[in-house]
Amino acid sequence: MKGMSIIVKKIAQLISGFIFLYGIYIIIHGHLTPGGGFAGGAIIAGAYILNILAFGSDAVNLRNKEKGSSLSESLAIFIVLMLAIFALFIGSRVFLSNYLPKGQLGEIISAGVIPLYNIFIGIEVAAAIITIFLALIIFKEETKR
């Protein structure tokens, strides 16, 4: 697909990094402030989509990106499942239980496994949205010819 004009490209260059950082902030502070894995993952996917739409890309390049995103999506959901299954061997031996020490309230590293779940759910959501977007764009590119 074609890219957009130079104004759009420059603005996308300037702000996409900040959007990405904001997504990471929302994910990491998920247990302290409103937001969490789902919201942060969607914001990160938005940064990627902004870049792809502004700069444009050819089908081969898009296919490579799609491979990476679908791989990271599968890995993230696998790690979430492994974190949940790991709880069967530690502590109260209940699926999905919070087995790490809780730490002090209000610190970034606290609340046991909840931040870990947040991070990997965030990666999963971001990669899933990017994969769907890339699949639709590639389909559109290939049917155009």
């Binding site: 996917a45 999905l96 609340a111 759910i121 639709l136």
Partner: protein, 175 residues
């Protein structure tokens, strides 16, 4: 509060109706945004910032994806003639909405007033969740601890959706 919400919901209904009757696909997609963004304001009024963030981001991304994919296939809607079948459909839908409204009114007559939740479980969550999960954000604490299965299911649904899109589009593009 209830008045503002009612106005918002009326606005959403108008937007949804316009989306059905819009002339071409692009304006229908954009009018669907009215529903989503009004829902964001409704979530903010009901003091649910977590949901509002998710809704505004997902709504924007969905609109962008729809526009980026649909933009080329913009075409006029087909005109359908009104015959006996369509009038029967309208009559049936009116009957069903009357029946649903009746049972809805029956079922909400025993509930608490709007905004006054005194259920036993929600009180236990509000008072004890912070020390039990160690998470200051109550919503995340509930989502990843008490309601862990829900979150796991949602993530799996998203994974399955991406898998489905990949499968369907790959088969078609190989032709």
């Amino acid at each position: 509060m209830e008045l503002t919400l009612s106005i918002l919901i009326g606005f959403m209904i108008v937007g949804a109706l316009f989306a059905i009757h819009a002339g071409d696909l692009l304006s229908a997609v954009i009018t669907t945004g009215i529903v989503g963004y009004s829902l964001v304001i409704a979530f903010l009024l009901l003091k649910a910032p977590d949901l509002a963030i998710v809704q505004i981001v997902i709504e924007t991304i969905t609109l962008i994806i729809m526009v980026a994919v649909v933009l080329d296939s913009t075409r006029e809607e087909l005109k359908v003639k009104n015959d006996f079948k369509s009038y029967a459909n309208i009559l049936l839908s009116l009957i069903f909405s009357a029946v649903l409204l009746f049972f809805f009114l029956e079922s909400i007559s025993g509930l608490n007033l709007f905004g006054e939740h005194t259920l036993r479980m929600s009180e236990a969550y509000i008072t004890e969740a912070t020390e039990k999960t160690g998470s200051i954000n109550l919503v995340t604490g509930v989502l990843f601890d008490f309601r862990g299965y829900d979150t796991l299911g949602e993530a799996t649904i998203l994974f399955a959706a991406a898998l489905g899109v990949l499968t369907v589009l790959r088969i078609k593009s190989k032709k």
